[in-house]
Symmetry: C2
Amino acid sequence: MKESTETPSERNASRITAMDVAREAGVSLSAVSRVFTPGASVSAKMRVRVMEAADKLGYQPNVLARSLMTQRTNLVGVILANFKNPIYLTVLDHFTRALQARGLRVLLLNVSDGQDLEEMARLVLQYSVDGLVVSAGSISPHITEQCHKRRIPLVAFARRPRRANLHVVCADNAAGGRVAGARLLQSGHRRFGFMAGPSTASTTIERGKGFRAAIEEAGQGVIATTHAREYTYTAGVESARKLLSRAERPDAVFCANDLLAMALMDVARDEFGLTLPRDLSVMGFDDVDLAAAASYRLTTIRQPLEAMVQETVDILSHRINTWSEGWETRQLACTAVERASIAEPPPD
Amino acid sequence: MKESTETPSERNASRITAMDVAREAGVSLSAVSRVFTPGASVSAKMRVRVMEAADKLGYQPNVLARSLMTQRTNLVGVILANFKNPIYLTVLDHFTRALQARGLRVLLLNVSDGQDLEEMARLVLQYSVDGLVVSAGSISPHITEQCHKRRIPLVAFARRPRRANLHVVCADNAAGGRVAGARLLQSGHRRFGFMAGPSTASTTIERGKGFRAAIEEAGQGVIATTHAREYTYTAGVESARKLLSRAERPDAVFCANDLLAMALMDVARDEFGLTLPRDLSVMGFDDVDLAAAASYRLTTIRQPLEAMVQETVDILSHRINTWSEGWETRQLACTAVERASIAEPPPD
DNA sequence: CTGAAAGCGCTAACAA
DNA sequence: TTGTTAGCGCTTTCAG
């Protein structure tokens, strides 16, 4: 007496299934499925009949059950390590928008500090994501191999891993560093310094390499380098104090990111009484919103974040649909943003 | 000749299932399931036998298939509208960490600008999320009702919706506004201004209300208010110009968030030649990282973001496990952070 | 403690 | 175009 008269809401907290809709509309289960499958062949009247029943019951297809059959979840895992650098909020903005526009959803994972990337990658794979983007410390061979075996496109974002058995999208950091060097050479200042981020960060390494190359090719040298423990304003302050306390104080400093640059400018003015840019030319990297603030007017190198995200999403959605062997690397050019943190050379 | 000799990797891009493991270990499918189900009763030797086979094959349980049975996805939808205010990166940091610590994952949705909240909520519900947090414009009755019917706990974060048929976690913005007013009253300045965000934002409304109350209770009045079109530095610059161009220029301004405050300070110094805080006292809200920068030293009101996230996650995980009727509102106190952007009253 | 069998909600052949 | 019938990969009674 119970089983047949049981309504859906009694059975399970009002979870309406396609079966309920089929019953309501007096059609088969597959008819309902077809109506909710884009591009399936259904007659017009079948469609309205089903839709009416569906609307009446408030039916929503269960995408998880669907995924089980289709082997497609429309989920993309995004693993991030840096939740302190504001550019990553912009990155997330672009990613969510671009992916949403293609019908994909973002499963966001945080691997900063204590979290283990290896473990998180494992977790995200359990959700059968269709693609994975990682912008975090070293991506282990195990992860890349796992993704490859399961045919899940994996792209390293804004990071350049040693091995290249995955897709890579990043800015041309070395070239950006060169541009910074070239620009600083025009300041007339000659005691070059580099305020780096953590020494393991690929961004620090490449930006520094490009910067040094430019300086050295001009017959000059980088006389001082400090590494901030992380890419934040606070860490920048400590680092700036060290840099400016050197016996031979640098007067033209390239900072591996804008937050460090802003810290350097503040410390220089506030604690060392320097007048900027007369006594110190500063160049940043990223072009965060506040780099344009009147307090800084920071001349900096901008990464094409939106384009980078676009490339990443392109790679993903293409490879999701048609898996193919091989990996691609897309390196995008940075552009200099001229403001007022670099000295004019004295008119000779 | 094909079906029986077919290995898993031939059948499907090496997607190892529990069945494969069972076969490998020479045990039943349910045995494998039990081994991967915390708290199921399995003998020790069964466990090692299954684990060996699983490790050998590189088996990872498919959580989606599991969800279909358990009616639990361990997914929490997070819908955000503001990807320009850096505090939301902090919020995401806390959310991902706190949820990950409880075995929950974040499905991140962006509803800024063009995106439709109603539509996104629908999409996220299709993934059978176990809970939903929304920090975005007005949450429609339809959404709340839908969540309620499906017994999905829904919490409005840092936002106070009109209707209260959902959980709410937010800072006590009105009280924060009062504190700001009280503090500004001590500056000796008497021409009070309010630099608001968008007039529809509940934060602007409540912070402004509290501020005005404090000023008026002291027998003073707020003589000027401007609304920035959004909570960004750039919008703040425009807004600051308007505010400072008033015939009767305010000299004690409460800004609805730090970015607006920083813009105001910059415009005041740079375009109006004011000396701060002598000519203008400024108070902010949020305490973003850069509020502490030497260029600003902004006295501000801090929202307890981490605690707010913690409360939200508490509500969610509690209600996920034991659904109960009724909604709770948790309003957390803000704290003032004293720095140097407010004038000392003249010694009388 | 273990295995067999019945689903979770849906899609995808296959016939009709 | 439609309905019937198998599953997708897993959990969960229910016997043994």
